[in-house]
Symmetry: C2
Subunit: 152 residues, 2 copies
């Protein structure tokens, strides 16, 4: 049984219909391109918020709320792209992504949790609280990159 | 007055604070990468829906609703990447993007409108209506590509 069939079997066992659909259709290089796209856009919409929290960009509550909403969607998008079929593709993902899957999943959930809090707090109008939550979100990004992404 | 200053002046006149922030920070090649990332992810989440509408992928109302929500966010993300500063960057964007800006804007709004309808109809449980709206959305994608993207 080759690796492709093995992976397909695993996907069936997991019963993840969408992942299966995606897996059945998407080539490893497509999965990498898609997950990198999600990371690029997380950078696009988180970068300015980080700048605001650090006082480098003027604070704008409307932009924070809009970007937080975008990040809420984007932070759900990269993860199915880290399919085992992609582990030999060129990318900054470290092998731990595919070996320490529990910790990787935990890091994803940590990020999604912090972004969920950012969405909530960005609706409240408390600038200090928003900035603190941007910091917490930044830490969740960095915590995952520390373990699962090549140093750059 | 060089082109950069002229563009900065225009951004100030337009009063688009986020665009200004983005413009002040993002290099043309970054803007292209970001807008292509948004297009890639629109493809990732629209592709399976198109497959469902065409009967090539099993219909799954939950995936349609989830993807429609993602597309609602994603369809707002590419457009500020088509900044005039990017017009000499390598990409599939045709010159009309920068010359026929009114029609380009109209095409963006058409897409967002169709996706808004898809979000609404995907909550209703009427499979035929959902599939028809996926078709309308596909037409909006294609209509814009027809005029503003190189043939591939």
């Amino acid at each position: 049984m080759n690796k492709r069939l093995l992976s397909l079997g695993l996907a069936l066992v997991l019963g993840a219909s969408y992942s299966l659909t995606a897996f059945a259709q998407a080539k490893p290089e497509t999965l990498v391109k898609q997950r990198q796209s999600a990371m690029t856009l997380q950078g696009k919409y988180f970068g300015p918020l980080n700048g605001m929290a650090q006082g480098k960009v003027p604070y704008d509550a409307n932009i924070v709320a809009r970007n937080a909403g975008f990040l809420d969607a984007l932070s759900k998008m990269p993860w199915d792209g880290f399919n085992p079929s992609t582990k030999d593709e060129k990318s900054a993902a470290l092998p731990a992504v595919y070996t320490d899957t529990a910790k990787f999943k935990e890091a994803q959930e940590k990020l999604q949790g912090e972004i969920g809090k950012l969405v909530a707090v960005s609706k409240g109008g408390d600038e200090a609280a928003v900035k603190a939550q941007i910091g917490a979100t930044n830490k969740a990004c960095g915590g995952c990159h520390e373990t699962f992404r090549e140093k750059r």
